[in-house]
């Protein structure tokens, strides 16, 4: 059997693919963060909790309303996005004039409260959520068995990333958003309701997190700390990609997924650390991130 660095080639291909799948989650989550930071200048530390809420809403829809996975993909982002709108309207919008740190502390606190409430209500070991019948089973790729569901996650994540990029870069509303980031007073003077646009942007970023949560529900344990485990990595992804850079967070998300996947083969113990090593190196050499503007 062919070997690369002492690892059988088929195993290595498998790990590359798995890394890409995890990268899809990093990309989706960091995309939401990047959109929010780019437009609102708020570092949304509630993002992990909102990812978790997406998964829990999917569970609630199934168990309390009898609505399955496909409905959850649609409804959960709307519901969680709405809570995001409320949070932005009542709390975050008051902090725009202050230092970044205030927004960070507020969203961090809100995230802890949300996690605490869910933990109190549902415990910590989590809820069962099954892969929808249509996506069960696996493909034999020759070098590994690839669950159909994971393939679906990658495709959906790429589509969602592309769609977000198109909306922001190629549509009229996207151009308003970008303009408002550069100079909110001027855009306001043209008769565009900038505060409402900010609110909706935050809602959309949160909805993206919830969407990722629904995608994650069938493969990760649906528990209150599921977001906290992931969010630290996702922040590193955003920092490496360049704060607020949409293309940066998507590319970095997938790339770091692959790097992490390879580390899991060559040095598994370091797989939770490798991303932060990359982050340190990037910050030392390019403080604005790989795709950021200094």
């Amino acid at each position: 059997m062919d070997e690369i660095f002492g690892i059988p080639a088929p195993l290595l291909f498998g790990q590359l693919l798995l890394g890409l799948i995890n990268g899809a989650f990093y990309a989706l989550l960091s995309l939401g963060l990047a959109v929010i930071f780019g437009m609102l200048n708020v570092i949304n530390f509630t993002h992990g909790a909102q990812f978790m809420m997406g998964a829990f809403v999917a569970w609630m829809l199934l168990n309390w309303a009898g609505l399955g996975y496909w409905w959850a993909l649609l409804v959960a982002p709307l519901v969680v996005g709405l809570t995001g709108v409320i949070i932005e309207k009542t709390m975050i919008s008051r902090l725009y004039k202050l230092d970044h740190l205030y927004g960070l502390l507020l969203t961090f606190g809100v995230g802890l409260v949300i996690e605490g409430v869910f933990r109190n209500e549902f415990g910590s070991s989590g809820m069962p959520y099954r892969i929808p019948a249509e996506l069960q089973g696996s493909w034999d790729l020759g070098f590994m068995f690839m669950p159909i569901y994971r393939g679906w996650v990658v495709i959906v994540a790429i589509v969602a990333c592309l769609a977000t990029w198109l909306v922001i870069e190629k549509t009229k509303i996207g151009s308003y958003l970008r303009a408002a980031t550069e100079n909110p007073a001027l855009v306001q003077a043209f008769g565009i309701n900038v505060p409402r646009m900010m609110t909706l942007t935050y809602g959309a970023g949160v909805a993206l997190a919830a969407f990722a949560g629904v995608l994650a529900a069938p493969i990760y344990s649906v528990n209150p700390q599921m977001g906290a485990n992931l969010i630290i990595i996702v922040f590193a992804v955003v920092v490496i990609g360049g704060m607020g850079s949409i293309l940066g967070s998507v590319v970095t998300g997938f790339t770091l997924g692959v790097i992490e996947g390879l580390t899991k083969v060559f040095w598994p113990e370091a797989s939770s650390t490798v991303i932060f090593v990359v982050m340190a190196i990037v910050l030392l050499t390019r403080p604005a991130g790989l795709f950021g503007r200094a």
């Binding site: 910590s124 070991s125 344990s221 992931l230 797989s271």
Partner: protein, 415 residues
């Protein structure tokens, strides 16, 4: 990075909050001499919360109530704190509890790395450590202490129960997915020993970062590539749940690989759902539906946080505190408070008896001895009522369930 700075700073304050709550006691010095203070230290906010957490405190309170010691004029105070599965946080809380708040006995402490740290501090300060949550068999082996009783289970027992059953059923080649800390290492080591003794072979192992690993697919694929017949999961709680869920997704079991969940709790089975968990073989020392006494105990415990049934760790907290308070009643509060070693020696001298574990004893190395049970998780159609999850496969008698006294290398035994 940020996990070690931001989260620690904010959560660290939260962790010590219960300690501040204990401050008013210091003024009531007159009462202090006649008061036993119990500190329940465990995971209140992370992946082991359902197994330990507030449910353990609830079990301790039931033990206090049923011990009848308060009717004899002894005050018992119970407080709890969160160690976040971190040895540094756990050590800080225990030092404050003992040095400042006059805590006499530390109960529970899941997460072996934290428990080993607490074990040392409690010994230095000559208090009592009733370890129900941790798994590492080192607590009664190389690191055994005259101040510690290891109550509910340990890695040797799990290895013998589940590992032994797997080897007996023909699982000759093993690959381990191991949580990269004291507990995972001990469980892998103890299980490997059994496998080798039975003529089996270890084909490989992968150490997964703890805490913070959510995706096990990469490790599962490595396990599958090793062509081992059995994949041993030397992890616990949320890690085990994610491993089993993802093993089902990647179809490991459909391709003839057998999963050995070396430490699976009933709350994990509940979380996985019977559809995914069915057929799993596991070892526990307590099951709420085992017999009339365990059912009665579960009923007296009342409704648990999150609507869950008690785990063996929570039952162990009850049993341990009940026995400790019996010893206190026997030797007097002053003597029990004066020396943790004396209190533990008194506990060792008395046979144990309670509804959760039946009759038992405590060995000189601090190991509590009771039977272990090999269970199989039921299929959804076999489960007749809520939490009807296990079929009893085999009872391992008390004298065989744990590592032989001489084999542990405990200094207390040699002397």
């Amino acid at each position: 990075m940020s996990q070690d700075t931001t989260r620690r700073a904010v959560l660290g304050a939260a962790a010590t909050a219960p300690v501040w709550g204990a401050l008013p006691w210091r003024s009531a010095r007159a009462q202090a001499a006649n008061t036993i203070r119990i500190g329940v230290l465990n995971d209140q906010s992370g992946l082991y919360r359902d197994i330990t957490g507030p449910g353990s405190t609830q079990a301790v309170r039931l033990a206090v109530q049923e011990s009848g010691i308060t009717q004899r004029g002894v005050n018992v105070e119970v407080i709890q704190a969160d160690h976040q599965n971190r040895p540094d946080v756990g050590s800080t809380v225990v030092r404050q509890w003992i040095d400042r708040d006059g805590i006499d006995v530390i109960v529970d402490v899941p997460t072996s790395s934290v428990a080993l740290a607490v074990n040392t501090i409690v010994r230095e300060r000559n208090k009592v450590f009733l370890a129900s949550g941790p798994a590492t068999s080192d607590l009664t082996g190389a690191q055994c202490s005259p101040n510690t009783v290891h109550w509910t289970y340990d890695t040797w027992m799990l290895a013998r129960g589940t590992g032994g059953a797997m080897v007996a059923a023909g699982g000759q080649t093993w690959f381990f997915i191991t949580a990269d800390y004291a507990f995972g290492h001990a469980l892998e080591r103890d299980t490997s020993e059994f496998v080798r003794q039975a003529g089996g072979r270890i084909l490989g192992a992968v150490r997964t970062p703890f805490p913070g690993t959510t995706d096990f697919s990469s490790f599962l694929v490595q396990a599958q590539a090793s062509r081992a017949q059995v994949v041993g999961l030397a992890n616990a709680g949320g890690d085990t749940i994610n491993s089993i869920k993802q093993a089902a997704e990647f179809g490991l079991t459909r391709r003839g690989v057998r999963l050995a969940g070396l430490l699976v709790f009933i709350t994990d089975v509940h979380s996985l759902g019977l559809q995914t968990a069915q057929g799993l073989v596991l070892t526990e020392t307590f099951y709420w539906d085992l017999n009339d006494r365990t059912r009665a105990f579960t009923q007296r415990l009342g409704s648990m946080p999150g609507g869950l049934r008690p785990s063996m760790v929570q039952a162990g907290c009850y049993s341990a505190v009940l026995h400790y308070l019996k010893a206190v009643g026997d030797m007097g509060v002053a003597a029990a408070k004066a020396s943790g070693v004396d209190a533990v020696n008194r506990m060792k001298a008395m046979p144990t008896s309670d509804d959760a574990f039946g009759e038992g004893t405590i060995r000189p190395d601090g190991r509590k001895i009771h039977p272990a049970y090999l269970f199989q998780v039921k299929a959804p159609n076999e489960s007749r009522y809520a939490w009807d999850y296990y079929t009893l496969l085999q009872t391992v008698p008390a004298d065989q369930a744990f590592r032989p006294l001489a084999a542990g290398g405990c200094a207390l035994v040699r002397s």
